[in-house]
Symmetry: D2
Subunit: 358 residues, 4 copies
Amino acid sequence: MNFGSDNVWGASAPVLEALVRANAGAQAAYGEDEGTKRVERRFAEIFERDVAVFLGGTGTGVNGLAVAAAVPPWGSVVCHREAHIIDDECGAPEFFSHGAKLYGLPGIGAKLQPEEVAAFVDGLPKAVKQMPPKLLSLSQVSECGLVHTREEIAALSAVCRERGMALHMDGARFANALVRLNCTPAEMTWKAGVDILTFGATKNGCLAAEAIVVFDMGLAETLAYRRKRGGHLFSKGRLVSAQFEGYFADDHWLANARHANAMAARLAQGLEGVAGVRLAWPCEANEVFPILPRAVDEALQRAGFLYRAWSDLSLPEGERIGAGERLVRLVTSWATEEATVERFLVTARDAAQQRAAE
Amino acid sequence: MNFGSDNVWGASAPVLEALVRANAGAQAAYGEDEGTKRVERRFAEIFERDVAVFLGGTGTGVNGLAVAAAVPPWGSVVCHREAHIIDDECGAPEFFSHGAKLYGLPGIGAKLQPEEVAAFVDGLPKAVKQMPPKLLSLSQVSECGLVHTREEIAALSAVCRERGMALHMDGARFANALVRLNCTPAEMTWKAGVDILTFGATKNGCLAAEAIVVFDMGLAETLAYRRKRGGHLFSKGRLVSAQFEGYFADDHWLANARHANAMAARLAQGLEGVAGVRLAWPCEANEVFPILPRAVDEALQRAGFLYRAWSDLSLPEGERIGAGERLVRLVTSWATEEATVERFLVTARDAAQQRAAE
Amino acid sequence: MNFGSDNVWGASAPVLEALVRANAGAQAAYGEDEGTKRVERRFAEIFERDVAVFLGGTGTGVNGLAVAAAVPPWGSVVCHREAHIIDDECGAPEFFSHGAKLYGLPGIGAKLQPEEVAAFVDGLPKAVKQMPPKLLSLSQVSECGLVHTREEIAALSAVCRERGMALHMDGARFANALVRLNCTPAEMTWKAGVDILTFGATKNGCLAAEAIVVFDMGLAETLAYRRKRGGHLFSKGRLVSAQFEGYFADDHWLANARHANAMAARLAQGLEGVAGVRLAWPCEANEVFPILPRAVDEALQRAGFLYRAWSDLSLPEGERIGAGERLVRLVTSWATEEATVERFLVTARDAAQQRAAE
Amino acid sequence: MNFGSDNVWGASAPVLEALVRANAGAQAAYGEDEGTKRVERRFAEIFERDVAVFLGGTGTGVNGLAVAAAVPPWGSVVCHREAHIIDDECGAPEFFSHGAKLYGLPGIGAKLQPEEVAAFVDGLPKAVKQMPPKLLSLSQVSECGLVHTREEIAALSAVCRERGMALHMDGARFANALVRLNCTPAEMTWKAGVDILTFGATKNGCLAAEAIVVFDMGLAETLAYRRKRGGHLFSKGRLVSAQFEGYFADDHWLANARHANAMAARLAQGLEGVAGVRLAWPCEANEVFPILPRAVDEALQRAGFLYRAWSDLSLPEGERIGAGERLVRLVTSWATEEATVERFLVTARDAAQQRAAE
């Protein structure tokens, strides 16, 4: 009954089992354990190239570290104005980078348009009083549930490359985007021009497993010190590495993401058939953003469904939330059961019909 | 065979089981889970008073946060010159505090003497060019394995109180010290004048479970923001809270610590009977610091025992490491088996006898 | 011929003479000189109350320090999106505050509207992931040359007070605003609810003389340390204090500001009579923002007049810069000569007539 | 009568005159003035090579910036434990560098010994928990008034070079050291292996004129931004550039330094002839550190002479301050008059004789 977030659920079984398995015996501390080394190699396989990998435990931690690796204290970051890094991390990027500035641009569906980024960056005065833009950060999946295509990523990367900026992907929902695009991890990242990636696994079936994956090796040099100093190097490294081992084994991570996306697609499809309900943005991953008539919203809440209101800052042009409506976010996960989805849809449908009847 | 550190081991069974148990079902994210609330209340019971509790995952993280809570960027911290916070955290206290200075004082056994602290602090010029001392940090257990008595803590606290400084206890091995003193957690902390505590559970049977426990409530005000911004608030809070629930249940934590200390005591007692071996400092918790003849050291290593060389900076007056000797650290834990201890002692004894025979 | 900025000129005669006079003899260092003490008392007289005063040498330095005094590293500042502190100081507020965030709001004439500030602040989620707003900063004179009335300041202060925010005035052109309002310094600041002021004198006849004037004494506690640590405490304090002594003597500062404002008023009045020229915002202090036909602009530049293009972000509703137009800024100062103003106007008028004739 | 410091005096006449001269007319702001450009070229001539120059106004400011240019936030600096940067700047290096650590080593006369630096650096563990040493900072003149010879500087530089560390010279009394060594500025700096210099002129005849002179151009890249962001770029750049123009013209700076040193030499020579007085360290520049019998000290103070007590941390081996003695510092400057020196000596001599008589 909980569509509040994908982090309200624990670990999926293979991840938990891997953790239990890895618990036994002595292992070197501080990231020198065998599991960590295996996981680092595994990332190289998954991304089909040499990568520098820094495991961590929280999305805010790895995002802050990744931004700091790419931007000096007097530099700036361009991102969407609803990006997680600018809006939801209590200034972690500013903290880890020692005061860099984040410029938040508008954009429908929380996606940046290359030409708008270019215009913004080119419009900044080139002077010592100005903080030079050094990084573009995009969220894959976006904060409105949209997935950047490989072409879109490449276009943003081109804007960066011409202006000496690095490209960061906040991959908190990396797997959900990946299975949607049906491409390889390499294609969605460095082959499209991503320089540094925060690879999230927590939301998709782990308890606390995140990684910074660096493709532009120059950005990796400082991260070992930054991570230690930020308190993000676990003494018992197996905690994170074991989760990743379970996560990657037998493509479990992709299965988890496919399930979550399918549940969201079912929700979206069902909601589009409910009178008075429309979707703010298309459902492309594991989130659905319906605009609900108040009566439907209330019926769902009464029935015990949990979800959150969402911002209308990035609606498509012309779209507006009416007085009797509410824009909400539904998140599905590896743990979402089909029966719950159906029950949700039935409840919504009933409420809509009753509303129509009144 | 591993005496390298207490963090080379995983979680003890009750802790792991609690984690597995807590994995099921939906729970509010970002520290709002029921388990976290229960653990926060549990800390209040354990310390017999209201406390502010901030759970975290790494010792470096919670130490950095605790120091920052008590010291402004232009303030300074007095600690032993071998303290973990000054020597082993890549500047985490400086990072979290935005540049505070740590003054490391000498002291036998990595313990600070109240009169020396007082003399040092009183000798600092009171001027704007000087960074005013705002915090004293002591490690319980000390970096040389010694346990501060309640009287010693109270004496250091008195020095602080007269000079407007707060008292921080780095309790990475809190439980090991506690069972040694055979007193209550309250007696070892706030009743002796501790204002803010980093309470470590990772080394004593968890995988990643640390907490900042604040007794001087004024020091707690900023910590929720600092923790979030530092990336130390877990989205799936149950990861840490569940470990603590298993840790505290049925006094499991005290049992773990007693076992570890007993194993260390057995090691110490045995080693004192080995010809040519002496202890650099008495064994008071779960660490033993023997000075080994080279031949004994080599025999132990050949036999596969793992342990680390240790610093001789804080030896008792008059004590010196000879040319053919090596000062090492042996750490025991909840997972150390008595048979391994005995095998270690036999190996040492044999080597010593052979050496005597040659 | 230079209308580029008020900081292209040196010190006015009484200021320079005071500096020369103060040069003789030995004086205590690091702000303990007699002159500094006299100036601190003088500020108290000028503001008709106890104030804490911290002299400095650059606007960016004192602004950064003042913001840091009022906002924790995880807090945020609300200001206009064209405010000097957000746009022209290379992140000094972020640097001194250790990473606070600046929210830039729109507003005509670079002025904030109380109701919009209130709506923005009230719309920020109250959660640990959000950086709590702690300070409102307004520029007096605004970046578009407008002067906040006492009522406007009081209205912004009321918004702050209800929300636990402090109010900062960036008074880089304090004197120019003051003589415009024809009120007392007290009336324009603390009586209208300003908590902390950066008082600029450099632009109005000094070489490098700035001060932080604190009315809310709680905000003053950290500033002595912050200033020293930031390198803004001069060893030879007389450098700054002497300038202030010359500045304040015989109301010289007000005379300087009156002259600068009168020159700007003359410019504005004259330009309004030039065909094809209009003012983007009314002239209220020592800056004029004409929108010039290209031909007029070019003629002025050819004639050797220096000035800068300006941003059109904060134009009045409905106003737009046409394809053949340019929005520029003219700044007058204590050193601007009436003859230069007249020559400017004649040149503009001639160019406009010639244009009309063609 | 004031031997308290060389910063109790104002500017010498040629410096003040240059400032007055430069005051007239319009000049580009923010370091783009012609004077600044001339001074930057002058530095290149003086140092006989390309240099990057960053003018500033305070020693603490330029020292903080210079350290930050050479050391990442997680790096460390080796310096003498009485170095100004570690002891007298309220943590400015930590502030500007965002938390780097300063290691203070002992050394007679506040000078570092190359072999001791090497041993210290080589003894630091090479691990991510350790802050890697990136900079050695020496004070020329040292905090005990000693001048490093070119050979000593080169020897320290060699230690740095082998360990990937840069060499910083804190040249607060650069000119006093230079005339003592009777060599060229190039010989005392980059030819001896200095990578980055803070060049002080304030103490030697200016009011506020300091410069960072960078020889290793890689260290210059970030400084323009750092300086602006730290509030150390003056809007009216002529303030500093004019002082430097007067300072350098006709070798005025060297004349000032020679006078100051000569006055100190006279003081030292005279004091050595006073019964019961001895010098803690030889007089090599413009400071004298006599150990005075209490009676002599009191007589001098009664006579109105001003000077400060000094630390005995870096006394030569075997030297001690007796119960009836006081170690003090006398500083001479360009403004010190010979008659004052003689009066000081007469007063001391008389007091010593009277003491002998009693």
